[in-house]
Amino acid sequence: MQIKVLIDQKPVTLRGNKDEFLADTLRNNGILSIRKGCDTSCCGLCTVWLDGKPVLSCNILSIRANGKAITTIEGVTQEAEAFAQVLVAEGAEQCGFCSPGFIMTVIAMKHELKNPTEAEIIHYLTGNLCRCTGYMGQLRAVKTYLGVQ
């Protein structure tokens, strides 16, 4: 199977099996920021954007992405680094394995929500599990990044 997609705004042809999911296809084609943390679509580590919407790449059949735009953390470097700096200043990246998926979700949230409350922030990020930080440091970083109290 072969699909033609835009990855981080560059046209790319990806090869993979028919029943392959996007997370595997992306990693097999050298996009290593994609992490897989579970096998039941529960953890959010594999989050990428499909046509701008945050989705679980482990749960998108690669064929479904054909002709669409995929955004990984490599494609939003400026925003990602800006937020990553705040996260690292909090000490809240810890093992870092959940961080790229988390950052993709945070940036998506920034684009989607205007002036979110703390409850709205927590709701939007609920699908991103973390075992290291206890979530509080991540929330502090998000609030600093969004300029929220």
Partner: protein, 262 residues
């Protein structure tokens, strides 16, 4: 993880149905969230992305929702938040996370008649119809109760009205399956009480609904009637006894909530 021999992205619904019925092991690929947990061997997987079934449209009498509409679209839809006190949006908002809800589809969840489904419970409390390619358009209740027949679910319709509704659920962890869920609605003094994740799927508490409609406004009593007529079971997330007790509490609260809303 499932395997596919072949993969098709049909351009028309008719083509999708035709290929679906060609072989016993041909199957529809919806959100694939549950499909990937199992090890089905699918012949031809039929992928519906090209059929333009991802929409929520407010028609004159109905809200029409295409089968490929995602849960996140339901959650954020202005139309669905406006009607029925936003009960549909609320019902799906607890499920795993935003990214997950951007993947799972209405059609797949309703067609599969999942017991734990929060969406089906909410839909059943409203005047909902489903449309199957072969079976045609029918009330959701009828679809849920009829025997399994392979078909293709294309749209659901929710009748617009001033119906008031409330949704309730109990979960341990916030992103877990529900231990039990309920939805209650009322239009022109006619009530409908629904409970799901019993762990069996959503069902209408007919006697309790009728009693409430008939004028018995002793909410505790109505809730007690409801849990007597519905069956509850035991599984990993709870015993039948606990589910029944909690369901009664949730129904009481949902009725009170509806009584209070405009």
């Amino acid at each position: 993880m499932f395997t596919l021999v072949d993969l098709l992205q049909p351009d028309t619904i008719a083509e999708a149905y035709e290929v679906l019925m060609e072989k016993r092991n041909n199957g529809i690929l919806g959100g694939c969230a549950f499909l990937r947990l199992g090890s089905s061997r699918i012949g031809t997987g039929i992928e519906l992305s090209k059929l333009n079934l991802d929409y929520i449209i407010e028609q004159d009498e109905y809200i029409e929702i295409g089968a490929m509409t995602t849960f996140r679209s339901l959650e954020t839809s202005g139309v669905l938040q406006e009607y029925f006190n936003g009960v549909i949006s609320q019902a799906v908002s607890h499920i795993i996370g935003v990214q997950f809800r951007n993947v799972v589809t209405v059609g797949a969840s309703v067609y599969a008649k999942y017991g734990f489904s929060d969406l089906i419970t909410a839909l059943l409390a409203l005047e909902t119809e489903v449309e199957l390619y072969k079976g045609g358009r029918m009330p959701l209740l009828q679809f849920l109760e009829q025997a399994y027949e392979k078909d293709l679910l294309t749209r659901i319709f929710i009748k617009k009205s001033q119906r008031r509704a409330a949704y309730g659920n109990l979960r341990n962890s916030a992103s877990d399956f529900p231990i039990v869920n309920v939805a209650v609605s009322c239009l022109d003094q006619v009530w409908r009480i629904v409970a799901g994740a019993r762990p069996a799927r959503a069902k209408i508490a007919v006697q309790a609904s009728a009693a409430l409609t008939a004028g018995n406004h002793n909410v505790d009593e109505i809730a007690a009637i409801a849990v007597e007529e519905l069956a509850f079971g035991t599984n990993a997330r709870g015993t039948a006894q606990y589910r029944k007790a909690v369901c009664q509490v949730l129904i009481t609260r949902a009725i009170q909530e509806v009584l209070q809303c405009k």
